[in-house]
Every structure is written in C-alpha cells, then in structure tokens.
Amino acid sequence: MNINWEDFSPVSSLLGGVMIGTATVLLIAFQGRIAGVSGILGSLMQLKNTPKGHYLWRLLFVLGLVSASFVYGLFWALPNIQIDTKPHLLLMAGVLVGFGTRMGSGCTSGHGICGLGRLSIRSLVATLTFMFAGFVSCFLFLHFFA
C-alpha cells in the first residue's frame, strides 16, 4: 500500500469531523431527530399521509446543507473539487446511492456517524458493508476493468 502524504489533510479532516459530529448532536438536541441525510431527503419525497410538521425541519436541514458552500465561501476559499466520473456513470452511481441508502435505511451520516455514536450493531454492520463495497467497487473500476 502506498500512502498519499501530499493530499493527507489530518487537521482539516479532524476539525471537519468534529463539526459534523457537533451538528448531529445539535439536531438530536433541538429536534430529537437523527441527522441521516438519505433518510431526511427520502422522507421529503414522501408526498402522501404525512403528519403535521413532517416537511419543515427536514427542509430546513437540507437548506442548511445546500447553503453551506455559500456561507463557507464568505470566510474561506472553497477547496477545489475534482470529479473524474463521466456523466453516464454519475447517473448510475446516483441511482445506486439513492436506492441503496433507502433499502439499507441509512448512509454515511445516519449509520456511519449517528448510528455508530449510538453504538448500534445494525449501523456497525451497515457501515462495514458499505465501506467494504466501496473498496471492492473502487478496485474493480480503477484497477480491474480499467
């Protein structure tokens, strides 16, 4: 294994992690809700039989996420984003992520941070599974088929 020390960013990644963890605690403290992005977004697409107050907090949380680049940009330079995936593969990846997170009841935020923070065995199994699938998928697409 070769380690990429040039791109390794321990301080900003750790700080970012602390902010993400703090945000999940804020949401449970104020709304009593789990900050699972796939669950929040998926539930916004549920158009029928929704109880009162179903949309508002979800919409506000998503708005916060969508506004983050703008607010970050007011204080610091936004980091460069590099996307090498071709549009048809982006479409396929999006469908897999959307379908898979709903079928598996969570993503990196809901299972990987909140679930592990609650010491949930289900979330631990889910997190190990999607990490493993990620490593395998990367190996296949970047080394095996390429």
């Binding site: 449970i28 949380f61 916060g64 970050y72 995936t85 993503c107």
Partner: protein, 143 residues
C-alpha cells in the same frame, strides 16, 4: 428558534463536510482506493465525528427528551436484515463510483456544480424508485 437552530445544524454539518474534504469526490475515491495511492484523511473525519456523537447522544438519550422537552425520534431496531446488508452494499458500490454520498452531494449542489446536479437528480430518482415502486411491491409489510 427551534427552526433556526435546525437550519444552523444543517449549515454546520455542511461546513464540516467541506472542511473535512468529503465534498471533493477525488479525495473520497482516494480513500476508497486502497490499492492505489491511498489518502487516509477520511478516517480522521470519523475519528473527529464519532466521539462527539457518542458523548452528545449519550447525554441526550439519558435525558430522553430534547432541550425543548419534546420526545426523541430514535430507531429502536436491533435485528439485522437482508435489506440492511444488500442496500448498504448497493450504496457503497455507487459511493465509490462517483465519490459522492448523499450529504456531500447536496453541499456540492449548493455550490452550483453540474456533476453534483446530475448525481442528486439520479439519487432522488433512486430513492423514489425504492420507496414508491420497489418497496410497495417486494416488501409490502414493511412501512
């Protein structure tokens, strides 16, 4: 007040994702590509986030209510299901393909990135397909 704080939680979550490097797909793929030129940064994201969540959730779950004395909405599920494992596997495969997971994709959408727009559109389609077509047909008993 509660609504403003909810928006702030989303905002802080997003700023954390930007700072951590999670909104840069090539960095995420650099982490998932164990056999390439491996960038371990994303381990640090989890090392930063999980201990904070562990302490915070511990305190609030002991209190059993929010700061506004409202009930918590927590999953009490403990059993492992095929859906949990197959779904997580499908998610992980797609995550590695694009380097986007749902949170960072929404943050990048907000920066006006066209690739993120394509990805989020497809992701919402995948969610709707699962919730409104797949699940009602194949798992009608599950709510």
């Amino acid at each position: 007040m509660k609504n403003i704080l909810t928006f702030v939680a989303g905002l802080l979550f997003g700023i954390g994702l930007i700072s951590s490097g999670m909104t840069n797909p090539s960095k995420v793929i650099g982490f998932l590509d164990l056999f390439g030129y491996w960038d371990p940064s994303l381990i640090l994201v989890m090392l930063g986030a999980i201990p904070v969540a562990l302490v915070g959730f511990g305190l609030i779950e002991r209190k059993r209510s929010t700061m506004f004395n409202e009930p918590l909405h927590l999953s009490g599920k403990t059993h492992l299901t095929k859906s949990l494992i197959i779904g997580s596997f499908i998610f992980g495969s797609g995550w590695a393909l694009a380097g986007f997971c749902p949170g960072p994709a929404l943050v990048s959408l907000g920066s006006g990135n066209v690739s993120a727009l394509i990805f989020v559109g497809a992701m919402i389609a995948g969610m709707v397909f699962h919730d409104h077509l797949y699940r009602p047909v194949f798992k009608p008993k599950q709510s």
